[in-house]
């Protein structure tokens, strides 16, 4: 997992979110989102992205350390709760 700061997942519709974060390192990453539960987190599929490409089970993005990323995504299901946003190096 790679470190990202100031993560946001702002509700823009029943299935859509604006994801925002600031990467700590530069490079190619894959972004995943999970439903944040009380004790466990559950994977949610992303079916559309406004930035980067869908792949590796998430959104593949080229990021620069310290440069804010804003990406509009669509989930495969309606969800109104908190999301966990994680990034992995490719």
């Amino acid at each position: 997992m790679v470190d990202i700061n100031n993560v946001r997942a702002i509700l823009t519709g029943a299935k859509t979110r604006k994801i925002a974060f600031t990467p700590v390192t530069s490079g190619k990453i894959v972004l995943h989102v999970k439903e944040a539960g009380a004790d466990s987190d559950y994977d949610v599929a992303i079916i559309k992205t406004g930035l980067g490409v869908l792949g590796k089970g998430g959104v593949v993005l080229d990021v620069q350390a310290g440069t804010r990323i804003n990406v509009d995504i669509e989930l495969n299901q309606e969800f109104f709760g908190a999301l966990k946003v994680v990034a992995h190096e490719i």
């Binding site: 990202i4 993560v7 804003n70």
Partner: protein, 277 residues
């Protein structure tokens, strides 16, 4: 809802490691104390976001602390509109690791919330919140509940006789579960007698015991020493943790002062000023 910096709410939440709010802080200070039959918890809240404070004052939100203990399956939610609250629990309710998660939670729907500090990425508002939404969250705090951890730190010290010591010398052993303060037979008799007198006990606390606690802390700070499994080491480490003291962050003498609750104050009161008991 555990604290996790990668977790994002669909609305702004005042919390550490996040700039949902550009300024403002929410912090909870939690203290546990144990007496014969009761575990007492005292919680204080500091909240610098005026708009959230106003919602609490209007009765739309409240401070909430969730206290949970895996070892005993204990879970309790303490809610209050006040900045300070105390609660008592049965002595058996908690044992071992106890987690405290502090929040400000919406009690009644808030239909038009505006705060200039909210990050513009959320838009200009106004924001709506429903019952159960989190307005602010502080990091989880972990405590260790064990009767021994709430006794004076000197409870893990034993005064023992060592025959080959001269009367004026004393040594300290760290190999047992309790720290052994070793003195000659004559000195042990003198100290045992002194321990029955409150003023003399204060002098002992500020001399032999203070030095021994300081040496114990110094040993725990030494990366080349290993006291794994020793009761005294566990008690000192966990008492320090519960008091928010980082063993690496201060000199041994200073940590000893904090662990022993500033024993010089007792010296001042009972010996220098001669308060009668």
């Amino acid at each position: 809802m555990k604290f996790d910096k990668y977790k994002a709410f669909p609305y702004p939440v005042l919390r550490p490691e996040s700039d949902d709010y550009k300024d403002g802080e929410f912090q909870a200070s939690v203290e546990f104390a144990i007496d014969k039959d009761t575990i007492k918890v005292s919680i204080g809240y500091a909240l610098s976001a005026e708009e959230i404070t106003n919602e609490i004052l209007k009765g739309n939100a409240e401070y909430v602390c969730m206290i949970s203990c895996r070892d005993t399956y204990f879970q309790q939610v303490i809610s209050t509109p006040e900045k300070k609250i105390e609660a008592d629990f049965d002595i058996g309710a908690m044992r071992g690791e106890v987690k405290v998660n502090p929040y400000v939670v919406v009690k009644k729907a808030i239909t038009s919330f505006i705060a200039p500090d909210i990050n513009p990425e959320f838009g200009s508002g106004p924001f709506q919140f429903v019952e159960g939404d989190v307005l602010a969250q502080d990091e989880a705090q972990v405590f260790y509940i064990d009767r021994d951890l709430f006794k004076p730190i000197t409870s893990v010290f034993d005064l023992v006789k060592k025959d080959d010591l001269s009367d004026g010398l004393w040594t300290v052993g760290f190999e047992e579960d309790h720290i052994q303060i070793e003195v000659s037979q004559k000195m042990k008799e003198a100290i045992d007698a002194a321990r029955n007198d409150h003023k003399k006990r204060v002098v002992l606390l500020n001399s032999i015991y203070f030095a021994a606690v300081m040496q114990a802390v110094q040993n725990l700070k030494d990366p080349n020493e290993n006291f794994e499994g020793k009761k005294w080491a566990e008690v000192i480490r966990r008492q320090a943790h519960n008091k928010g003291i980082n063993l690496e962050g201060h000199d041994a003498y200073y940590i000893a002062e904090l662990l022993m609750q500033q024993p010089i104050k007792l010296l001042d009161a009972y010996v220098f000023k001669g308060v009668d008991l």
